[in-house]
């Protein structure tokens, strides 16, 4: 048996691969559910019902999908250029923190303030990724290490800020930062639910990223540099500039995720506000084969797992950590599936 590279990956495989990967991941996680003494089929049925069974649960799922779309786009943009941004979680938190900080006392009306706050969150995320990108360009420091470790630094910094200077004096129990001013809360998309118009911003971002990658000079140069850096440099494309551009874009998207989550859902920042949106974004991007449209679909799937697992846990008693297991397994099975789409097995 040996592997042979396919001349061209057929479209149906591109679409089928993530579906098979997800099915295998669910099958494997089903084994764990069975070990916990629960019928996996029943558990998955509860999961589906919990995420998609009612109007409220669907809106809750889409609320959860919103930051995932943005962190998924952040990972997809970076990975395409072979910038291994594992720091989506940290960029999410700085975006959230800066938004809450400025948004607490920004003296402008809502319609002006909201864009300002989102741009501030994006800038914070972008700057946070610009540092590892610069270190890679200047000193060849591996960005996998720097971006990953920055996550912990950022989250500890957030913890320090919300227990210190940014502590909300009105919050009891869990420490939380001061909330953004009520004027800057994003309007609901569906009345009397948590789903806010940030979801539309995320969809618009996916469209914009597709447009940038597929149709602009910057996007074309980025793809060329990601696929063959040496040929891109020979053709006169500046690799440092391309990489830095990608870093700013990717960091901005993850920062926007944090910003939108604060403006749309939490109002204040807590260290527990993200169930790993940044890391899950990596899974979303991989399941999407780094394609912006796929990111939306994959984010909705991952959100379904997250929200559904909570409901399932309440009904069946299987710990909701099973959601993390499913999502992590999806990453592994997707990597295997990608190998089979790129290569064919020959006897």
């Amino acid at each position: 048996m040996r592997l042979e590279r396919r001349a061209q990956v057929p479209l149906h495989l591109v679409i089928v691969a993530p579906l098979v990967a997800v099915a295998v991941a669910l099958f494997l996680a089903g084994g764990l559910i069975a070990v916990a003494g629960v019928n996996p089929f029943g558990a998955y049925a509860e999961m589906l019902r919990g995420a998609l069974g009612s109007r409220l649960s669907v809106t809750e799922m889409l609320t959860r999908a919103t930051p995932l779309i943005l962190t998924g786009l952040a990972a997809a943009v970076a990975f395409r250029a072979r910038l291994w941004n594992i720091g989506g979680e940290g960029q999410f938190f700085v975006g959230a923190l800066v938004t809450a900080w400025i948004g607490h006392s920004l003296p402008v009306p809502g319609p002006i303030g909201i864009p300002i706050l989102m741009v501030a969150g994006m800038a914070a995320g972008a700057l946070l990724l610009a540092v590892p990108a610069y270190l890679r360009l200047r000193f060849s420091v591996d960005e996998v290490v720097t971006t990953l470790l920055l996550n912990f630094i950022v989250i500890l910094f957030v913890g320090m800020m919300i227990e210190g200077p940014l502590r909300d004096p009105l919050a009891f129990g869990w420490p939380s930062s001061v909330p953004v001013d009520g004027d800057f809360r994003l309007p609901d998309l569906v009345p009397r639910t948590r789903l806010h118009i940030g979801f539309l911003f995320a969809l618009a971002a996916a469209g914009a990223i597709w447009l940038i990658l597929a149709r602009t000079v910057f996007g074309t140069e980025t793809r060329a540099a990601g696929l063959n850096a040496s040929a891109a440099a020979f053709a006169g494309i500046s690799l440092p500039r391309t990489l830095m551009g990608v870093a700013l874009l990717s960091g901005a998207l993850a920062g926007l995720a944090g910003s939108v989550e604060v403006l749309g859902v939490t109002a204040g920042v807590t260290t527990t506000m993200s169930p790993g949106f940044g890391y899950a974004g990596i899974v979303v991007a991989m399941l999407a084969a780094l394609h912006p449209a796929g990111v939306v679909a994959a984010a909705i799937f991952v959100a379904t797992v997250f929200v559904g697992a909570d409901a399932m846990s309440r009904v069946t008693g299987v710990p909701s950590f099973i959601a993390d297991v499913v999502v992590a397994l999806c990453l592994l099975t997707m990597l295997v599936a990608l190998m089979f789409t790129t290569y064919r097995v020959r006897r």
Binding site: Q8, N228, A235, G236
Partner: protein
């Protein structure tokens, strides 16, 4: 006598493509057989079937009279067939000895087998005249030495029939000559050899017999002594191929001038005090054994590195610090040495590669957005004008053959009517038909007024195309000689570094 190897009626299809069509072939003991054919003629497929990498759809393989089970490399190895791949399959972080042992010794007894393996390796190396240092790490060896390790690996497994896939593709000419001398010695020890090639001169020089494969079919077999390069070329291509001939004409003003140029990499001089001038309507050939500074000269003129000293001007303008994009804008066309690594992005479409160098020009983009329509019709024009076969603007570039990819790269830099063209090994690895096409395009660009600097390791090519020739030796350039006065002996001396400073070979 039983033939060492016999293929009978081999047929192999990949989908609609018939890679081998009823091919039969036999190899006598102690014989060197050259398997000649253009890229894509089915040579490598045939050898992969023989070695068991692929199973044939029809036909059988016999080694010393015994039929091999199809599709089992293990069986082929046990029967005494060894293969030396074009792209080496060595682990660079292991020693020569470890590489040789890998795969043939069980890992569990790795340590105890070591000294026995070392004895066997040294003995084989002695017997076949392949000197090697068993404890050297492979990534510290030269390309020629690595190939020697590949051969030793096959011999260590008691190969009696050795298949070499394009063995000279990665070798400089003296290394290639040494290889063929070694191969000749090996046949005296009873080995039988097949080497795959598309280079006529080495087939003529090194083989006893030639089998010619064209479009999957065996079209001819000849005793090497009873054939000629012209006949073989015609058999291989299926029609008469003539390389275009350079017409003499008046050269114009100097375009690209380098004076006392020095290029350093990691503190070492790669080009040293090099002076050259390329004129309008002139091809200046740079000949030399590979690794003597050609890469640095190529990078310098592509804008990838800056000179550490000297001057470099294009029509009087200083171009030392322009960079790749600046060079392109200044009207410099560049054909890189390695078309896969530097020339094109394989995973992008043909149209994207066609415009990659000039994506930011108003012709191909507006306000940061790519004008896809304009780009694709430009690419379609290139495909038409430069006869890029098997391509549409949307084809993935990786799927083009080497020759057609080269035509795309050449078309990309020639279509703008460049003032100066750098052609670095423009025909390396190409088959006869594609070589003729590339030569014709370079000569057409010359006639249109371009100044062209041709870096080549093929003497015939350099002499045929160039108006003047300079040799490059250890980063230094000889004085130019007119190619009309340059015979093989004189150029050979120049490439060995023997020249008087007044420009005449000693």
């Amino acid at each position: 006598m039983t033939p060492a190897l016999e293929l009978r009626g081999i047929t192999k299809r990949f989908g609609a493509l018939t890679a081998n069509d009823d091919v039969s072939l036999s190899l006598s003991q102690g014989e060197i057989l050259a398997l000649l054919g253009e890229n894509g003629a089915g040579k490598t497929t045939l050898m992969n079937i023989l070695f068991g990498h692929y199973a044939a759809d029809q036909g059988t393989v016999h080694v010393f009279g015994k039929e091999l089970p199809p599709g089992q490399p293990r069986a082929a190895i046990d029967a005494g067939v060894g293969m030396v791949h074009q792209h080496f399959t060595l682990a660079g972080n292991l020693t020569v000895l470890e590489n040789v042992m890998l795969g043939s010794e069980p890992l569990s007894s790795f340590r105890s087998a070591r000294s026995a393996a070392r004895r066997k390796l040294v003995q084989i190396a002695d017997r076949f005249g392949l000197p090697v240092e068993p404890d050297a790490f492979v990534n510290q060896l030269s390309v020629g030495e690595r190939q020697r390790v590949e051969i030793l690996k096959a011999l260590y497994r008691d190969a009696r029939v050795l298949i070499l896939d394009e063995p000279t593709a990665v070798l400089a000419r003296p290394e290639a000559q040494r290889l063929f001398e070694t191969l000749r010695e090996m046949t005296k020890q009873g080995l039988s050899l097949i080497f795959i090639s598309h280079k006529l001169h080495e087939v003529m020089a090194a083989s006893d017999r030639v089998a010619v494969l064209r479009a999957g079919q065996m079209v001819a077999e000849r005793q090497t002594s009873q054939t000629s390069p012209d006949e073989l070329a015609e058999l291989m291509v299926g029609r008469k191929v003539e390389r275009p001939v350079r017409q003499g004409h008046q050269i114009g003003k100097p375009v690209l001038v380098g004076e006392n140029v020095r290029v350093e990499e990691q503190g070492e001089a790669r080009l040293d005090d090099a002076s050259f001038a390329v004129h309008e309507r002139e091809i200046l050939g740079i000949v030399g054994v590979s690794g003597n500074g050609q890469a640095a000269l190529g990078s310098l003129l592509s804008g990838l590195i800056r000179p550490a000293g000297g001057t470099l001007t294009l029509s009087g303008q200083d171009v030392r610090t322009l960079g790749p994009r600046g060079m392109i804008r200044a009207g410099v066309g560049r054909v890189p040495e390695d078309r896969h690594a530097d020339g094109a992005v394989g995973e992008l479409a043909v149209w994207e590669n066609a415009v990659l160098e000039r994506l930011r020009s108003p012709e191909f983009s507006r306000r940061g957005f790519v004008r896809r329509g304009a780009c694709k019709s430009y690419a379609a024009g290139l495909i038409e004008r430069f006869d890029i076969r098997g391509a549409t603007p949307d084809t993935r570039t990786r799927l083009l053959s080497g020759g057609n990819m080269q035509k795309l790269i050449l078309g990309r830099c020639l279509s703008i009517g460049p003032r100066f063209v750098l052609a670095n090994q423009p025909t390396r690895g190409l088959d006869e038909g594609a070589i003729a096409a590339v030569h014709a395009e370079l000569l057409a660009a010359r006639a249109a007024g371009a100044a062209i600097l041709l870096i080549s390791e093929e003497l015939e090519e350099a002499v045929a195309l160039s108006d003047r020739i300079q040799a490059i030796v250890k980063g230094r350039l000889s004085q130019p000689v007119s190619s009309d006065d340059a015979d093989a002996r004189r150029l050979g001396l120049m490439m060995a570094g023997v020249w008087k400073e007044d420009g005449h070979a000693a």
